[in-house]
C-alpha cells in the first residue's frame, strides 16, 4: 500500500459517516428496537408554578398493563447532577414550569401509553408564577467584570452612546427529535440514543439509578443534529428511559414527537442588554459598559456558564481600556433555557454590533471605519485583560469580506435605489465583525481534565478513542484526519470508535467549539506517542503489512496498545474566576459577515439577497466540511434575525410545530460567499481553532444593520418581522 495521500489536514476528504447516512443504513434511536420493548410517555405538569400534592389515577383504567415511575420510585437522588443539582428528574413537592415531568408511563403498545396519559390527573395547589426575567427575584448567577476606570473615561469622552437591545428564545429544531432507548445487557443497564455528551449522561444515570459505574453504559446512536440542544436535556430523557427500564426489567424506548420536543426541551436564552459606550473625537473606544440579563427558566442548568461566555463577549472583538460588565441569569417559571450554538455570545454580539449603527449615526463617523480603528490585533488586550499574541484575524476577515462583497459599491448602489421613489423595494447592506472563544471559558478546560486515546490492535487497526460525538458537524472525519496527519499514514487506515462509555475515555462534552481544537489536540498528542513507539519498527507506518507485523510484537497478550493523552492548559495561561481577569480562551476565531437584503415597500416582506462571510479559525482541517458548518450556522443566524419566533404564554411555547415556528427553507436561504482566512494558532492541532459556533454570531446584527440601511430605522429586538417593519414604512 502506498502512502501518497499523507497530506490529510487541509484536504476536503469525504465524511467518514456519509455512506450510512446516504443509504438510509444509519441507525438513529427511533430506528432501533428490542424484543419485549415498552414505549414510554411523560406526564407533564401543565401549570407553571404549584405545590404538588399527588397524582389521581382513574380506577377504571387497566394500570396493571403499565409500568409507572414517580419521584418516590427513583432509587438514587432525584436531582440531575450538573453545575447545581436543583433540577429534579421528576417533580417532587413543587412544580416550577408548565412542562415539568411528573410521572413516566410505559406500555407495550405506544398508542395505549398515550391513552394512559388521559387517565391521570395532577392534584396541586397553584402558586404565583414569574414569566418575565426582569420581574424575577431569583438570580442563578451574577458576574461582574471591571477593567480600568469607566466613570472617568465616560467623563472624558467626546461621544457617549446608549442603547437597549432584546433577544428572544430560539428553538434548535434539529430534524431528529430527542430520544433514548434503555435495556439490560450483561448485567449492565445500557442507554443509547441521541446526545452530545455521553459522560454527562453517565453521571446523571449514576445519580438517579444508584448503580456503580461498571453497571451503567451510555452509547451514542446516530444523532440527527444537536446545536447545543442535546447537551444537557439528554440527562433527563436518558434518565427517564433508564428509570423505567430499571423498574420494568425490560427495554424501554422514549422518543419525543416534535410538539413535545419543542415544548419541553431547552431554548436559547432570551436576553435584555443595555450598552453605554464612550468614544473620543476620532472614534476610538474609551469606555464600554454592558448590563446583561438572561432568562434562565426554571432551573439553573447551564445558565451560569452561558452567562459567563456572554459576559466575556459583551464588548465585542475590540480593544477598550475601560470596561464594566454586569451579567445576571434569573429564574422564571418556563422550561429551562440552555445551550444553543454560540452560548450567550450571539445575544451579546447582536447588541454590540448593532450598537455601532447607533454610534455611527450619533458621531457621523463610518461604522466600518469605527470597527477598523478599534478591532483587536496582535498585542491587544481583551476585556478580560488577555494579551493576544498571535493569530488575531479580526482585520483580515473584515478586509476579506469587504472586498469579496464589494461592500462600498453595493452600499452606494442600494442608497441610490432607495432614493428613487419608483423603487418597489428598499435595499440594505449591513456588516458585523464578531469573534468566538474556542473551548470552555476560563478555567473550564482544566476542570474537565479531558482524555483521548489512540490505539493499535494486533490486526493493525488504528483507532481513535474519545467520548466526542459526531452530531452532523463532521468531528469524526476531522479527528480521523488529525490522527492520520500526525502519524503520517493514509486517512483510511484510521477508524474512530463509536462513543460508548465502556470503551472510550471521557474527552469532555461535544460543545463549545472544542472538539477539533481541544480533543483534536489530544488525539494528535496520542498519535505522536504511538508514532514514537513505532520508531523501533522501521517502515511500520509505510505499509499496512509492516504495521501489522509491528502490531503483533507490540500488542502483548493480544490486547491493543493504547496511548492516552490528557489535557494540559497552554503554558503561562492564568484565569481568575472571581475577578474574571486572565486568559479566557486558548484562542479566538473571527468572522466578518455582510448581508444584502430587500424589503417590499407594500408588504414589508424581507428577502435576503446574499450573504458574504470571511472566517478565520486558525486553519481548516477540512475546508469542505468547514464551509458546510459556516453556511449552516449562518442560516441559523438569519432565521434568528428574521423568522424564528417562539410564542410563549403562561410559561409555555404555543407554536411548537415546524408549521408555525418557522425555520428557514431552501427558498429563505440566500446564495452565500464564504472566504476562509488562514492564521494558524499554536494552541490547536496543526494550527486549527474551534469553528462550530462562530458562524452563528454574525448574521443577526448584519441583518439589523442592513434593515437600518434600507429603512433608516434601528430595530433593537429580534426577530425583525414584516409586522414590525410595516408601521415604519412611510406610504407614498
Amino acid at each position: 500500500m502506498k502512502t501518497s495521500s499523507k497530506r490529510c489536514v487541509g484536504a476536503s476528504v469525504a465524511r467518514v459517516d456519509a455512506f450510512e447516512k446516504l443509504t438510509g443504513a444509519a441507525r438513529y434511536v427511533d430506528d432501533l428496537t428490542r424484543p419485549g420493548l415498552l414505549h414510554a410517555v411523560t406526564l407533564r405538569s401543565s401549570v407553571a408554578h404549584a405545590r404538588l400534592k399527588g397524582l389521581i389515577f382513574d380506577p377504571a383504567f387497566p394500570w396493571h398493563e403499565c409500568v409507572i415511575v414517580q419521584a418516590q420510585d427513583i432509587p438514587g437522588k432525584n436531582g440531575v447532577p450538573f453545575l447545581q443539582d436543583d433540577q429534579p428528574f421528576l417533580a417532587q413537592d413543587f412544580i416550577r414550569h408548565p412542562q415539568e415531568p411528573v410521572a413516566l408511563i410505559a406500555h407495550p403498545d405506544r398508542a395505549a401509553a398515550y391513552e394512559a396519559l388521559k387517565h391521570v390527573s395532577i392534584d396541586c395547589e397553584a402558586l404565583p408564577p414569574v414569566f418575565d426575567a426582569r420581574d424575577s427575584k431569583t438570580c442563578f448567577k451574577e458576574i461582574r467584570l471591571e477593567k480600568g476606570d469607566c466613570a472617568r473615561a465616560f467623563s472624558e469622552s467626546a461621544f457617549v452612546v446608549e442603547g437597549d437591545y432584546s433577544l428572544p428564545h430560539q428553538e434548535h429544531a434539529y430534524i431528529e427529535t430527542q430520544g433514548a432507548l434503555a435495556y439490560w445487557e450483561d448485567d449492565a443497564l445500557c442507554v443509547t440514543g441521541s446526545l452530545q455528551c455521553p459522560y454527562y449522561v453517565l453521571k446523571a444515570l449514576k445519580a438517579a439509578i444508584a448503580l456503580p459505574e461498571h453497571s451503567l453504559r451510555v452509547i451514542q446512536a446516530a444523532t440527527g443534529g444537536g446545536f447545543g440542544g442535546k447537551e444537557d436535556y439528554p440527562n433527563i430523557i436518558f434518565g427517564h428511559a433508564a428509570l423505567l427500564a430499571y423498574k420494568a426489567k425490560r427495554p424501554v424506548k422514549l422518543v419525543y414527537d416534535r410538539l413535545e420536543d419543542m415544548a419541553a426541551t431547552t431554548k436559547r436564552h432570551p436576553a435584555f442588554i443595555r450598552l453605554k459606550t464612550g468614544l473620543d473625537r476620532e472614534g476610538r473606544l474609551l469606555a464600554q459598559e454592558a448590563e446583561l440579563l438572561l432568562d434562565g427558566g426554571a432551573y439553573s442548568t447551564l445558565s451560569p456558564v452561558v452567562l459567563s461566555r456572554a459576559v466575556v463577549h459583551a464588548t465585542g472583538p475590540y480593544h477598550c481600556p475601560n470596561v464594566r460588565v454586569r451579567g445576571r441569569a434569573a429564574a422564571t417559571n418556563t422550561p429551562p433555557n440552555g445551550a444553543f450554538r454560540g452560548f450567550g455570545a450571539p445575544q451579546a454580539l447582536f447588541a454590540v454590533e448593532l450598537h455601532w449603527e447607533a454610534i455611527a449615526r450619533k458621531t457621523g463617523l463610518d461604522a466600518v471605519e469605527l470597527r477598523r480603528k478599534n478591532a483587536l490585533r496582535p498585542g491587544s488586550s481583551t476585556t478580560t485583560g488577555q494579551e493576544l499574541k498571535e493569530s488575531v484575524g479580526a482585520l483580515a476577515v473584515l478586509d476579506a469580506a469587504l472586498k469579496k462583497s464589494r461592500y462600498a459599491r453595493t452600499r452606494a448602489q442600494f442608497t441610490r435605489h432607495n432614493g428613487n421613489p419608483k423603487s418597489k423595494t428598499l435595499k440594505g447592506v449591513g456588516l458585523s465583525l464578531t469573534h468566538h472563544g474556542a473551548g470552555f471559558t476560563g478555567g473550564g478546560e482544566l476542570h474537565l481534565d479531558s482524555r483521548a486515546a489512540v490505539s493499535l490492535s494486533a490486526d493493525g487497526t488504528i483507532r481513535v478513542l474519545a467520548g466526542s460525538t459526531e452530531i452532523g458537524q463532521g468531528s469524526k472525519t476531522a479527528l480521523t484526519q488529525i490522527c492520520a496527519q500526525a502519524l503520517g499514514v493514509p486517512f483510511h487506515w484510521i477508524c474512530v470508535e463509536n462513543p460508548d462509555t465502556s470503551k472510550v475515555p471521557d474527552s469532555g462534552p461535544t460543545v463549545a467549539s472544542r472538539t477539533t481544537m481541544v480533543v483534536g489536540g489530544l488525539v494528535r498528542q496520542a498519535a505522536l506517542e504511538l508514532k514514537e513507539r513505532l520508531a523501533d519498527f522501521p517502515g511500520a507506518l509505510a505499509s499496512l503489512k509492516s504495521l501489522k507485523a509491528a502490531a503483533r510484537t507490540l500488542c502483548i497478550d493480544g490486547g491493543p496498545l493504547r496511548l492516552e493523552a490528557r489535557y494540559a492548559p497552554p503554558e503561562g495561561f492564568v484565569w481568575n474566576e472571581t475577578t474574571y481577569r486572565g486568559d479566557a480562551y486558548a484562542a479566538y476565531g473571527f468572522a466578518a459577515t455582510i448581508v444584502e437584503l430587500e424589503i417590499d415597500k407594500a408588504t414589508a416582506e424581507t428577502r435576503v439577497l446574499k450573504l458574504t462571510t470571511a472566517h478565520e479559525f486558525g486553519r481548516a482541517v477540512n475546508p469542505l466540511l468547514a464551509e458546510g458548518q459556516i453556511a449552516g450556522g449562518a442560516l441559523q443566524g438569519l432565521g434568528y434575525a428574521l423568522l424564528e419566533h417562539a410564542v410563549f404564554a403562561k410559561g409555555s411555547m404555543l407554536n411548537g410545530q415546524l408549521t408555525n415556528y418557522m425555520i428557514p427553507a431552501a427558498t429563505d436561504a440566500p446564495p452565500m460567499e464564504i472566504v476562509i482566512v488562514d492564521s494558524p494558532t499554536p494552541h490547536g492541532p496543526f494550527g486549527a481553532k474551534g469553528l462550530g459556533e462562530l458562524p452563528m454570531n454574525g448574521p443577526a446584527p448584519a441583518v439589523a444593520a442592513a434593515v437600518h440601511h434600507a429603512t433608516g430605522r434601528i430595530f433593537r429586538a429580534l426577530p425583525i418581522r414584516p409586522e414590525d417593519i410595516l408601521p415604519h414604512l412611510s406610504n407614498p
Binding site: A18, I175, Q473, L624, G628, A669
Partner: protein
C-alpha cells in the same frame, strides 16, 4: 389486506388501513431509512416516491398506497455502490447529520425525472418542502447541481 410494490418488491400489509405509510415502512417492513421529522408534512424528512410522485409518508394512510409503487432511499444504492446522486452528495457535503438526507435525495430524484432546470434558484424552489437545519442548503444545492451537470 393492502398490496403494494416497495423498492421493486411486492409486499402485503395486513394491519390497520389508517396506519401512516411512514410507520408501515419503518415498523412492518424495517425500512428505517425513511425518517420522521415533524409528523405533519412540514419538514419532508419522510419524503418517498409514490408512483413517481414525491409525497410525505407521514400524511399517507396505508390504504392510499394500495396498488402503488413506492421508492424509498433504500432503493438508490446498488450492492454497496452509491448511486450518482448519492455520490454527488458525498463529494459536495450535501449530508451532515443525515436526518433530512433520505428525503432530500428522493426530492432530487423527483426533480431530475421531471427534467428540472439546472439552476440554483429553480432547485431551491423545488427543495423548499424539505427542511435541513445543518447545511444552510448551499452544499445541497451544490450537490444537486453537480449531479445534474454530470448526468
Amino acid at each position: 389486506m393492502i398490496t403494494f410494490i416497495v423498492n421493486k418488491r411486492r409486499l402485503k400489509y395486513k394491519g390497520p388501513p389508517f396506519k401512516r405509510l411512514l410507520d408501515v415502512l419503518r415498523e412492518d417492513f424495517e425500512l428505517t431509512g425513511t425518517k420522521e421529522g415533524c409528523g405533519e408534512g412540514e419538514c419532508g424528512a419522510c419524503s418517498v416516491l409514490m408512483d413517481g410522485q414525491l409525497v410525505n409518508a407521514c400524511l399517507i394512510p396505508a390504504g392510499q398506497a394500495e396498488g402503488k409503487t413506492i421508492e424509498t432511499v433504500e432503493s438508490l444504492a446498488k450492492h454497496k455502490t452509491l448511486a450518482p446522486v448519492q455520490k454527488a452528495f458525498l463529494d459536495h457535503g450535501g449530508s451532515q447529520c443525515g436526518m433530512c438526507t433520505p428525503g432530500m435525495l428522493l426530492s432530487a430524484v423527483a426533480y431530475k425525472r421531471r427534467k428540472g432546470k439546472n439552476s440554483a434558484a429553480a432547485i431551491r424552489k423545488h427543495l423548499a418542502g424539505n427542511l435541513c437545519r445543518c447545511t444552510g442548503y448551499q452544499p445541497i444545492i451544490d450537490s444537486v447541481r453537480a449531479w445534474l451537470k454530470k448526468s
